[in-house]
Symmetry: D2
Subunit: 401 residues, 4 copies
Amino acid sequence: MVHETVVFEGHLIDSDILKKVFDRVVEEGGEFEVQEFRVGRTNDLPSFASVVVKAAEPQTLDRILEALAYLGASTATLGDARFAPAEGDGILPDEFYSTTNFDTFVRTGGAWVAARDQKMDCALVLRGGAPHCVKQGQVRNGEPVALRGAGIRVRPPERSREQSVFGFMSNDISAEINKTIAIRGTAREMKKTRETGERIVVVAGPAVVHSGGDVALGRLVRDGWVDVILTGNAFATHDLEKAILKTSLGVCQMSGRGVEGGSRHHLYAINAVNRAGGIREAVEKGVVTSGVMFDAVRKGIPFVLAGSIRDDGPLKDTITDMIAAQKAYVEALRGAGMCLMLASALHSIAVGNLLPARVRTVCVDMTESVPVKLSNRGTLQAIGLVTDVGFFLERLEAELR
Amino acid sequence: MVHETVVFEGHLIDSDILKKVFDRVVEEGGEFEVQEFRVGRTNDLPSFASVVVKAAEPQTLDRILEALAYLGASTATLGDARFAPAEGDGILPDEFYSTTNFDTFVRTGGAWVAARDQKMDCALVLRGGAPHCVKQGQVRNGEPVALRGAGIRVRPPERSREQSVFGFMSNDISAEINKTIAIRGTAREMKKTRETGERIVVVAGPAVVHSGGDVALGRLVRDGWVDVILTGNAFATHDLEKAILKTSLGVCQMSGRGVEGGSRHHLYAINAVNRAGGIREAVEKGVVTSGVMFDAVRKGIPFVLAGSIRDDGPLKDTITDMIAAQKAYVEALRGAGMCLMLASALHSIAVGNLLPARVRTVCVDMTESVPVKLSNRGTLQAIGLVTDVGFFLERLEAELR
Amino acid sequence: MVHETVVFEGHLIDSDILKKVFDRVVEEGGEFEVQEFRVGRTNDLPSFASVVVKAAEPQTLDRILEALAYLGASTATLGDARFAPAEGDGILPDEFYSTTNFDTFVRTGGAWVAARDQKMDCALVLRGGAPHCVKQGQVRNGEPVALRGAGIRVRPPERSREQSVFGFMSNDISAEINKTIAIRGTAREMKKTRETGERIVVVAGPAVVHSGGDVALGRLVRDGWVDVILTGNAFATHDLEKAILKTSLGVCQMSGRGVEGGSRHHLYAINAVNRAGGIREAVEKGVVTSGVMFDAVRKGIPFVLAGSIRDDGPLKDTITDMIAAQKAYVEALRGAGMCLMLASALHSIAVGNLLPARVRTVCVDMTESVPVKLSNRGTLQAIGLVTDVGFFLERLEAELR
Amino acid sequence: MVHETVVFEGHLIDSDILKKVFDRVVEEGGEFEVQEFRVGRTNDLPSFASVVVKAAEPQTLDRILEALAYLGASTATLGDARFAPAEGDGILPDEFYSTTNFDTFVRTGGAWVAARDQKMDCALVLRGGAPHCVKQGQVRNGEPVALRGAGIRVRPPERSREQSVFGFMSNDISAEINKTIAIRGTAREMKKTRETGERIVVVAGPAVVHSGGDVALGRLVRDGWVDVILTGNAFATHDLEKAILKTSLGVCQMSGRGVEGGSRHHLYAINAVNRAGGIREAVEKGVVTSGVMFDAVRKGIPFVLAGSIRDDGPLKDTITDMIAAQKAYVEALRGAGMCLMLASALHSIAVGNLLPARVRTVCVDMTESVPVKLSNRGTLQAIGLVTDVGFFLERLEAELR
C-alpha cells in the first residue's frame, strides 16, 4: 500500500469538492482517511481538510493524485511545474497538462503564478515568463508547455452562498422552475454586475428574432445592459432582413411563414448590407435603420459574428475562419462577469468552452438539452431556464426598465 | 437573536446534506455556526455535525428548524410527536406533517418508531399504534394525524459510495452519457437485486411496443428478471393488438403506419380480450399467444393497468378509478429494490411519487424532461438515460442473457 | 382482375383526399384509373372525381374499398348499413365499423342520416333510431352496432382556403414559426368563433401556473373568452395553492423553488378546499379569492377535472373514475368551435380523441412532440405552436384586450 | 381586374402542387379559375392544368405569378431569362432570382437549359454559357446573374407513388412510427441506390460515437454502403480518441463519464493524429488502428470535416474556413442519390441546404426538431426518425448484412 497526504482549503462543503474527492478516490480503486477537517464555522469562513490517500499500486496513486489536483488538492511534495517544448506548431509534448475552467496557478521559480486567459482544454504555455492558457492549435513550435504532475494547482469555484439566484437556483434545470423569480434574479445580477464594472456578454441565436425577442434585446442594448454580442451570421441576417424588408416587401411579416421564393429576402438583406460595405456602413448610410445590429452600431457595442457551415451569404462582418473567430470571441470575453446565452446551442457551447467557471451564466433554451450539457461541464454559477427566449427577453427588459 | 443547536449524523458530505443545511439557513434569513464537525475517516464511517442556528425572529428560527428537520436534524429539545384527529374523511388538521420519500421516524411514548409504507406527500397516521404514511384522501375521520414540530425525524438516503452505476452516474442526465456502460451497470444492479431477494419493478409505456422493445421485454419476463409490471391501458392494448392481429390483418405491420380505419385494430383487440373475460382468460383460451402480457400471465407475474382519460376501451383489467389504481400500485411496489421506468411520463412520475427514495431507479426516455423531473424530486439513487427504449431493452436483455 | 367505380365530391385537392386515395390504392397493391375529374373552377366550387379501382383478388379490392370509404368514397352499389347486436356490455360484434373524427353518415331505410356525437374510435350504435358514436365500453348488450361495408360514408374536412391562420399555418409545426402572427391569428379566430356563437374550450396543464400564464388566463376567463375549462387535479391544485398560500406562507414564491417540506403547500390547499366542500364552496366561503378557478366560479364557467394516477389529494371536484371523466369531457365539448390546448400532453391528447376534426385547434407546447402527435391524427384545422405557454397567454390576452 | 393564364404539368395531385397554387393565389389576394384539368388516368401518367389567375392590381398579379413560377407554372408569355452583371464580388443586382432546391431551367436563346449544381438560395449565373447555381458569396464581379421574371422555370419534385418508404412515410415525423419498418425500408432504398449507381452520403454527429453506433457505422463503411462522410471535427475526434486511448488509458470507457482532466484525452488524440500529419497518415503509421475514420481511410472513402466555433484542436484534416468547407461539401455531394443524416443538427441542416430536393433523405435524431426543420424546407423525399442513432445504425447494419 502506498499513500500520500493532500490538503484542501475553501468552501469545501458548499462547492461539492470534498464529495468529489471521496468519489474519485473510491472510483479509481483507492482508499482515503480524513486526518483533519475544520469546517468554516460561519458562512464566510473557509474550511480545511487533510486527507490521506492510499492505493495498492504507485500508478493508481498517481492517477488519483492527478485527478485530485484538478479538484484543488495541494500535496506536501512541492516543486516547480515541469515544462517541455512544443514539438511543432500545434503539436504538444505527450505529457502536456490540459486546463479546466477553474482558476489555475503554476509554480515557477518557487512562486505560484496565476495562469492568464483561463479557459478549459488548453495547454499552459510560458509566454513572457508567465503561464497562459493557449488553445492547442495556437501553440507554436518550441514554446515551453507545462506537463502533468507537480507545480500546478487549481482553485475550484465555490458555490455562492449569498442570497442570489446563482446561489439557490444553480444547476436546477427544469421547465417547472418559477420563471418570474428566475428572471427577476437575473435582472438583479445584471445590476450587480454593472456596479462592479464587469461586462455583460450576450450570446444570441436566430430564435431571438423568430420569437420576437429582438425588440426587447434592442432596448437592452440601447439602455446599456449589453457590453458585447457574440453570435453568428444567421442571427445578424435575420435581424437585418427584418430591418430592411419589413416595410417594402413585408410578405413574410404578413403571412407569418416562408413563401415560395421567400429565401430571396435574406439574400437580399445580405446583398444590401454587403454592398454598403458591412453592417456599420449600412447603418451609417441609412440602409439599416432599426434592429439589434442597428442599436449595437449606434451604441458602439462590439459584436462578433462567427461563421458556420450552414451560412448563406455570408455578411462581410462574418468571420469565416473558425480559428480567427475563436480568437475574436476570446478577446470579446475579456472582463466578462456575466453571460446571457439566448437560444443558440452552437454559440452557447462555444462560449461555455471559453469562459472561466466563475462567470455567472444564464442559459435560456426551449429544451433541457443545452442547459444540461453546460451544467455537465462543471459550471457552478449557471442557471438553465427552459422557456421561449422571446418571453425571457420581454420580461427581463421589463424588470430592468 | 434567538438560536438553537441541531445535530446531524450520517454520510453528511456524500449526501449533500450539510450543503443543503447551510443553504436553507441562509436562504431563510438565518445564520449558522458549526460547533463541531467530525468527518467519517474512511468510506464506511458516518460523520457527525453540531450546528448552532440563529435568527432575528423566533418565527424565522421555527421555519428554519422545520426545514432542517426534513434534512434529518435532531434537536436537543426532545419530545413525543403531537397528533390531532382528522376533521373528516380526507380532511386533515391544518398543522399536519407532510412526508418526504426518506425513511421517517416518529417518537411516541418516548420511543422512535419507523413509519410504514414510506412515500412522499402523505399524512402520518397512527393505525394500530404505529405510524403509517397515508395518502390524504384515504385518511379517515377521527384518525390521529401527526403534526409538524417535535418528534418526527427523517433519515435522508446516503449516496452510495460503492462502485455501482448508481454511485457514479447518479443524477447525471445527458444524451452524451456512455449508454453501453450505463446499461451494463443496470444489468449488474439487477443481478444484485436478485441476490438480495428484493423485487424488480418495470413501469412501461406504449413506446416500448412502437420501438420494438416488446420482444426483449418479453424475454426479460420469461427469464425471471421482472417481478411486477406497472402500466396503463395503452401499453397492454398495443401489446395485445400486436399479438392478436399480426397474422390475420397485419396491415399496420406491413405498411408501418396507421391506416384509415386502422384504429379498428386496437378496438378489435380490446373487444377480443374483453369477450374472453380479461387478459388472463384470453391467454388461457388461446386468444392471445404471444407478447409481454402473454409472457406475464404465463410466468405468473402480476401487472397493474391504471386507467387514464386518454384510454380507448378500456380493457377489463384496467382499473378505471384512480384511487383504486393508486392503491393497487402501492401494493405492487412492496418489497421493491429496483425500478425500471420505460418511456412513460405519466406512470413513471406516478411511481416516482410512491417509491421511497432508497429504491434504485433507472429512467429511460427520449428527452431529458422526465429524468430531470424525477431527479428534482430528490431521488438520489436514480440514473436518467436519454435514449430509445427499444435500444435500451435489447441491449439490457443481451447483457442479462 | 376485379374492379369497382367509386366517386368523390368536395374540395378534393385542398383536402389532400385525392392524393390519399391514390396512395392507398397503390399501397394496398391495386391500380386505379381516373375516369372523370372536374375541378371546382373557383375557390367556392367543389370538385368531382370518378375513379375505377382494380385489384387482382376480390379480398384486396374489398380492403381498398373499405379504406377509400374512410376517405369519403361512395360506391354505385348502394344499400343500407348493416347492423348486428352487441354481444354483451362493451362487447362489439367483430365486424363493427370504427369511426373517424370526420362527419359520418349512415344509410338506414334508404336515407342518409348524420351520426351524432361525432368522435373517433367509436362504434356506431342505433339509439332512438339514430346512429350515435358510442365509446366501445359504453355500448350495451344487444344494441344494434353498425358493421363495416355498405351504407356508411364520411365527409372528410376540407382545408379552409380562407385567409385564416388555420388555412395557411395548418400542420406547420415549428419553433421557427413567427409567433406574433400565429397568436394574432388565434385571437382573430377567437373573435370569429364568438360571433358565430360557437364555444371556446380551454385545455390547461399545470405549466400554465408554473410559467405565470395563470394571470393572463384568469383575465381571459373574466373577459368572456373561455366557455369551458378541461383539465386535471394538478392544474387546479397549483392554481388554488397560489391563491391560498401566497400571502400567508409564500415561501415558494419568494425562493422560486420547492423547499423541503414544501409539498405541504399543495396538500394544505387541497385540504382547505375540500374542507370547504369543493372549489365552488371554497370561493363562496372566501377561502379562495383569486386565480383561474376563482374566476371560473365567479363567471359561472364550467370546468371538468379529470383524475390521473399521479394525483395527490385529490380535490373533491376531481372525477376519479376515468369512464365518468370521459363522459363529462364529452358533455363539456358539445358546441365547441375552437379549442386551445395549453401545455398538457395528457389532457390535450384526450381531448383530441374526443373532438370532431372540424373544430379549430391551437396546441401550445414546449416541444414538437405533442403537436406532431395531434397532427398525425388527421386534424386539419390545427396549429402547433412550440413556445412557452406563459408567453402565449400573455400575448394572446394583450391581442384580445 | 387583370388576369393571366398559367399551365402546370406533372403529378400535380401527388405532389401537392395544385393545392399550393390555390393557396398562394388566395393568400396573396387574388382569385383563380380552373379552365382545364386533365388528371393522369393511371399511376404513371402526368396531369395537366390550365388556370386563369386574376387580381385587382397588376403588382398583385405579378407577385402571384412570381410565386407560381416557383411552383412550376409556365406562362404563355414566353421570353428569354434576363440577366444583369454582378455589381461586385459577392454583390448581386437587386432583382436577382433566388433558387429553390427543385430542378430549374433557364431560357436562353429560345431554349430551356437545365441549371447545374442545383441547390437552394443561390444566384443563377451564366458560366461558359450555361446557368449554374452559385452561392451569393462566390459570384464574381461582372458575371451575368439571372433576374426574376420570365424565362425561369422549376420542376417541383413529385412525391413517389411507388411502394417505397419515401412514398408512404414521407414527412411523417413521429416517435410513434414503427421503426423496424422504417429502417427496413431505408435498407431497401440503399440497395436500390447501389443498383442505380448513385452515391450514398452519410452525415454524422458525435452522438454516433456516444451511443456506440460507431461500431455499426464502421461495418457499413467496410461493407461498401457509404460513399462519402460529411461531418465535423468533433465526430472525427471522438472516433479517434476511442481508437487511440481505449487500451492505454481507457478511464472514460471504464467509468462511463468524463473524469477531471479527462478532456486531456481528446486533446491527446488530436495531438497524436496531427503529429502523424493527419488522419490518413495516422492510419498509415499505425497510430490509429480502428474506428470509423480508420475504416474510411482503409476503404478509400472520402470524408470532409467542416470546422465550427466549438472545436478543440482542430485536427489537421478539419477545414477551418467555412467558405472552403461549403465548397468541399458541395463537391462531395455530387452524384448523391441518398443521404443518411445521423444525429447532427448543424451538419444535417448544412447538407439539407446544399442538396437538390430529389435526393432521398433519412434524418435520425433524438427529438422532432431537426426533422421538422428539414421537412419545412420542402424536401419531399425525406423521412424523419426520432430514435437513438446507435439503435438505428445497429438495426440498419443488421438489415444490410
